[in-house]
Symmetry: C2
Subunit: 318 residues, 2 copies
Amino acid sequence: MNEFELIAQLLPSLPANDTVVAGAGDDCAVLDLGVPDRLILFKTDAVVEGIHFTRETPPEKVGRKALARCLSDVAAMAGTPTAALVTLALPAAFDPDYVTRVYAGLNALAAQSGVAVVGGETTTNPGGLLLSIALLGMVGRGRQILRRGAQVGDAIFVTGELGGSLAGRHLDFEPRLAEARWLAEHFPIHAMLDLSDGLAGDLRHLLAAGGVGAELLQSALPVSRAAKLRARGHGQPPGTTPKPPALAALTDGEDFELLFTVASPAAVKLLDAWKKAFPHLKLTCIGRIISGEGIRLRTPTGVQSLPARGYEHFQAPA
Amino acid sequence: MNEFELIAQLLPSLPANDTVVAGAGDDCAVLDLGVPDRLILFKTDAVVEGIHFTRETPPEKVGRKALARCLSDVAAMAGTPTAALVTLALPAAFDPDYVTRVYAGLNALAAQSGVAVVGGETTTNPGGLLLSIALLGMVGRGRQILRRGAQVGDAIFVTGELGGSLAGRHLDFEPRLAEARWLAEHFPIHAMLDLSDGLAGDLRHLLAAGGVGAELLQSALPVSRAAKLRARGHGQPPGTTPKPPALAALTDGEDFELLFTVASPAAVKLLDAWKKAFPHLKLTCIGRIISGEGIRLRTPTGVQSLPARGYEHFQAPA
């Protein structure tokens, strides 16, 4: 049994109550706590040494990344973040300077995002540093955008550029908070999430939640410069094969861009309005929602199904 | 610099916003998110293998304890818990049965407490298991009981019995949710917290928050049976000296009982009403709030100051 299968098995046994609008399985939990015009968003996310950062990562960037990941989840619901708690689990070799610098990075992003840091705790973690953030946010009642809701015929959009994030961007990305709220306010967004595990994997979550499939246009995928450089062998770890750019855009994780669907007649108007509202951030229509399930990729040589797993064996045409 | 000194240094730099009623430094953060008659409580707490439990602890009790600790903090504000998120960081040797059993214990207590478990995440933690809970709760607007507020002359009360929790009770304790709400509803409770680090240490937090001191009556301390047995050498780790019972009640951690102060004229009425409301749970007046700072202990041989640190060298008279 893998981790996802276990989670699926645990989900039905989780206790609920009448405050729950959306529980486990979306970017944030959505709760109705009685605020007249708003719902509450609730999210936790952890970064772990050796997985999400290394001992060499500047501590300020560790703190920033931990909070930014949670902010990206609030953005994915079209919400506004409000308050955070910080759980810092430290190896036995406790270094006050390291902790101070983690907080400096975290606090700077919190202040910039209007988030209050209202406490937390430090504890000991023999294996290394673990930093978990619990975040509260708010969204206008009925304005939350869930993963489910994609309709056959919808255009599929993605912000920014994809792939190669681990070359550096994963420590510096900007959560798309303002962009997501703007989208929810101006267009009938049907479904949205933030890209953390890679476009193909995350899109699959959105499709499964909506009971639909997708056809992507390979030539439309907005491949990042980092992924293109990597494909040419720059910064490639010795002994590994460079990933073709389209495959990197589909499968590299930690992009933290928005992926969403909108009724197709609104697509052109959306692109025009976006260019005026956010002239410095790319928005790309990468495909459309179709009936069925899974992802089909349209390439210069035809249409092929994208396997659900084992991307490492999938050869995207060049 | 120790951990507490570092936290004190970090506190002033934490960003705030206008939702914050009480930030870091109390049992829970208190937020005003616009619910007309209520405030939101927000808390995280982590348990770590090797510190709060061992590899031999039944997983159900690990899950139960993690949630119970957070519930105790919500109780300490006289609040009602609402929704929890679970962060489970697992050693590389991932055991689905272990995880399922952790959730079983956690879910049972959540259901019993009316708490919805609305998601969370699993991640990898090379050093061992770490389980962090983020908990939301609510409290009537103006009904929250903070750590600060103790007045000179107040009677100091504690629920239950103290000391020796690590003999087993730390895995099975009942968060005092109903008791705390009853107290807040019926009596003018000035200050309250839950005992996690030991009576002397936690009382010191309450005193510092209120700018007052305390005099405790040693003979009044409600010493648990486990602490008394331990004092006679039962279950004493080889090579260590048994702790006198009063010292155990003052300094053993993980009691998770309520410590609170109430205006002295209400003390007798409170004790009477308590016996009717909670006939199976002891409530003890252990002393009173005085001017000054720190803790004085009245013993059969006189009054002495309790040192702020180094209890191991403090010899409570038998």
